[in-house]
């Protein structure tokens, strides 16, 4: 047992730093560091730069075009990216549908979808939640009826993140009405350009448009887009959820935000916020090592299971605490607010903390979602209670 990095690890870290110095798109870097919102093209440019580096599949096996990195390498990669304040790598293709396809998909599907996911030629979104089924995901009602070599899909999905940008959506659909609601669910890939799909924005309390409702009316989906067996979708969904929860904590990004917060508050006269920050930082270190312990167990042949629920709960709680501390640091300067995109340059408040403050409250409000989505934290606790404590 030791905590030291090998020479090879250190060399690898240098490679990541080189990428960040030379290949990470300059325009993305600039916007990120100014706290500006990125466009769709910015996100594509960033992901493609990772692909060109050969790192898009940083947590994929080599045989599907992944890096095959060790947990230590993944840790270093994520840490350096976090310190450099890069955008979050979009999970929908790389961490969600990708692993499902290479684990449960057939050869044609692997060939058809995986390369485009890695190269970021396709932007994916997730069709899980429905208006009537939030935490009780398995109660979903969107129907797919087999009709020759197609499925006809009717229903709606909600809270679909960035559906407005997406080329494809992976959906849980009901192909059969069964006694047990978890049966009769199938996992379907749907081209967003198909006729009958409508995307409507949902504005969140921070004023942002990130999530959407997606409506399906007689949408014709080729049967070849069914993943695995019909009626086994719940198995794949659970596999995916465990993977999704795993990356959700965003420790490296939190470290970066923490650094900014410390700089902002270092001259504050009152010790109270400093103590809160220390308390938060300690918990963040604990979370980081919880992730590392889980990664180590994975490398020894384990699978991300209920343990990832801890990371989801603690990770989102810490993210939310961080945003609260930002709001506290901003004080009354959270009031002037022109929306999540911030102020335009012709009209900024006199207070020199305005950008910080406006973004602080925007993130605070936006991050309330983190304890709700991906299976609410209450649901995660139910999972731990059942799977680990056996009660």
């Amino acid at each position: 047992m030791d905590i030291n990095f090998s020479d090879a690890d250190n060399q690898f870290r240098q490679e990541v730093k080189d990428y960040l110095e030379n290949k990470y798109p300059k325009h993305v870097k600039e916007k990120q560091n100014n706290g500006e919102q990125l466009t769709k093209q910015d996100m594509i440019d960033y992901h493609k730069s990772l692909y060109e580096q050969g790192w898009a599949g940083y947590n994929w096996p080599v045989e599907y075009g992944g890096t095959g990195w060790s947990p230590t390498q993944i840790y270093i990669f994520q840490e350096e990216l976090g310190y450099a304040n890069t955008p979050t790598i979009l999970p929908f293709g790389l961490n969600m549908v990708g692993p499902v396809i290479y684990t449960f998909g057939n050869e044609e599907q692997k060939k058809k979808f995986l390369p485009d996911i890695l190269e970021f030629n396709t932007w994916w979104c997730q069709g899980y939640s429905e208006p009537g089924s939030g935490s009780d995901l398995a109660s979903l009602k969107t129907k797919a009826v087999r009709d020759g070599d197609h499925y006809i899909v009717n229903g709606s999905k909600t809270w679909t993140t960035l559906a407005q940008n997406a080329d494809w959506i992976f959906c849980l659909v009901r192909t059969e009405t069964t006694q047990k609601k978890q049966e009769g669910i199938s996992f379907l890939l749907i081209d967003m350009k198909t006729e009958g799909i409508e995307v409507k924005p949902i504005i969140t309390i921070d004023g942002d448009h990130e999530v959407n409702s997606v409506f399906f009316t007689d949408v014709k989906v080729p049967a070849e887009n069914l993943i695995g067996e019909e009626g086994k979708g719940w198995t794949y969904a659970k596999f995916l959820l465990a993977h999704e929860r795993f990356g959700i904590a965003g420790v490296p990004n939190q470290k970066y935000s923490l650094k900014l917060l410390k700089e902002r508050t270092k001259d504050f006269a009152d010790d109270d916020l400093k103590k809160k920050i220390a308390d938060y930082e300690i918990e963040l270190l604990a979370l980081e090592f919880t992730e590392l312990r889980t990664l180590a167990a994975l490398a020894n042949g384990g699978h991300p299971g209920a343990e990832s629920s801890i990371i989801k709960i603690k990770g989102t709680e810490l993210q939310q605490r961080l945003t609260e501390m930002y709001v506290e640091a901003a004080g009354q300067y959270i009031l002037p607010y022109e929306g999540p995109e911030g102020f335009n340059s012709n009209n900024t408040p006199a207070s020199n903390v305005s950008d910080f403050s406006s973004q602080a409250v925007s993130r605070y409000l936006n991050f309330r979602k983190t304890s709700i989505y991906g299976g609410s934290n209450e649901i995660q606790k139910n999972i731990i209670a059942k799977a680990i404590l056996g009660v």
């Binding site: 309390i205 709001v327 506290e328 009354q332 607010y337 006199a350 309330r368 609410s376 606790k381």
Partner: protein, 364 residues
């Protein structure tokens, strides 16, 4: 000791409640917020007609001579309905400063506030003083006022400003017309759908006649205004917390998951009990604070700091829990529930946040 509202106070509550239910539904409120920074001239006219703009002013000044208790009654109901009108800025804050003055200009201004023909904001905060509102740089020299005031509430609509400034090292409050040469207003929507602004004074000519208050009276007026304003927004938060837990209870009874209303789940029940308890103990402390302020108790300021600190904690907990229990709907802009959380966040940030008032309470 008597902890029952008077008949008059109960009637006032009924009146505000009825208005909010009939004329200020959430849909109406959203339109006002989206189109006009939270202010609707017609609503304001209704306030004037109902006599609400006269509430805290002395009879001598044409008011009803109501005190902190009646204001708390109004704000509790406003909090439930998320009323965004600039009642705090005009009637409470400017009202408090003007009422403390005996000069004629103050009296004239009050009468125009009461009939709804003018709006006045107190411009006291500055960019670099944090919550130390007496640490100001705006100053008068050779009859010219210079300085920048920040987070001036309702700056978009204010016809004039009560400007807290220094004359040498002595505090003074001037009434300055918003159209005066050298006054410029840069206003913003606020995160909770109202408005505030930076107000810059550049060589604005002010005379003796525009002095509302000076020396010790001026700083006392600011302190008294802060106490009353804090009390009012705390009452508003208590109303908002009450609405939040009631709406959450209602929602969980209707929302079904796993084949039953989610209100059946014990964890959610206990979370709602926590919300209820936070609302109740906050309300208790509000009682203490408003009664002390009403009775001009020496400890009133300390209790108000305690109340503000408590509200900062309780309302955050209630607001966050309400959003959480509403699931995705909680973060959706079209539901009212998330707007309570936003208002709670602003309330904590205004006039000294929880940490500031915890220190205050500890040191007073």
């Amino acid at each position: 000791m008597n902890l029952s509202y008077s008949d008059e106070q109960n009637m006032l509550r009924e009146q505000v409640l009825k208005f909010c239910e009939s004329d200020y539904t959430f849909d109406v409120r959203e339109k006002i917020v989206e189109s006009n920074y939270g202010h609707n001239p017609e609503t304001w006219k209704q306030f004037a007609d109902l006599g609400w703009l006269a509430v805290p002013f002395s009879e001598e000044n044409g008011g009803f001579n109501f005190g902190p208790i009646e204001l708390a009654v109004i704000f509790e109901e406003f909090g439930k309905a998320l009323v965004a009108e600039p009642y705090l800025a005009n009637v409470v804050m400017s009202g408090s400063v003007l009422e403390s003055s005996s000069n004629e200009l103050a009296k004239q201004t009050i009468s125009k506030i009461i009939d709804g023909t003018t709006q006045v904001s107190v411009a006291f905060s500055e960019a670099n003083n944090g919550y130390n509102f007496h640490d100001i740089e705006t100053s008068i020299e050779d009859g010219k006022l210079n300085g920048v005031k920040t987070v001036v509430l309702n700056a978009s609509f204010a016809n004039s400003f009560l400007v807290y400034a220094r004359n040498g090292d002595k505090p003074v409050i001037y009434l300055v017309d918003a159209k005066e040469a050298g006054v410029s207003v840069n206003s913003f929507s606020t995160v909770d759908g109202q408005n505030c602004g930076d107000v810059t004074f550049e060589n604005v000519e002010v005379g003796e006649s525009s002095i509302i208050s000076h020396d010790n009276d001026a700083s006392q007026a600011i302190n008294a205004m802060l106490d009353l304003a804090n009390l009012c927004i705390c009452a508003e938060a208590v109303g908002g917390m009450t609405a939040s837990y009631l709406k959450t209870v209602q929602y969980t009874k209707e929302r079904e998951q796993f084949g039953q209303p989610i209100s059946n789940f014990q964890v959610l029940q206990h979370k709602m009990v926590d919300m209820f308890m936070e609302a109740e103990v906050s309300k208790s402390l509000l009682f203490k604070a408003m009664l002390q302020l009403d009775g001009k108790d020496d400890e009133a300021s300390k209790t108000i700091s305690g109340l503000k600190a408590q509200i900062g904690k309780s309302s955050r907990q209630v607001g966050q829990a309400a959003v959480q229990l509403h699931g995705g709907m909680g973060v959706s802009d079209e539901m009212s529930i998330g707007h309570y959380l936003k208002r709670f966040t602003v309330i904590d940030a205004l006039f000294g946040n929880r940490n500031y008032h915890l220190n205050n309470f500890s040191n007073l």
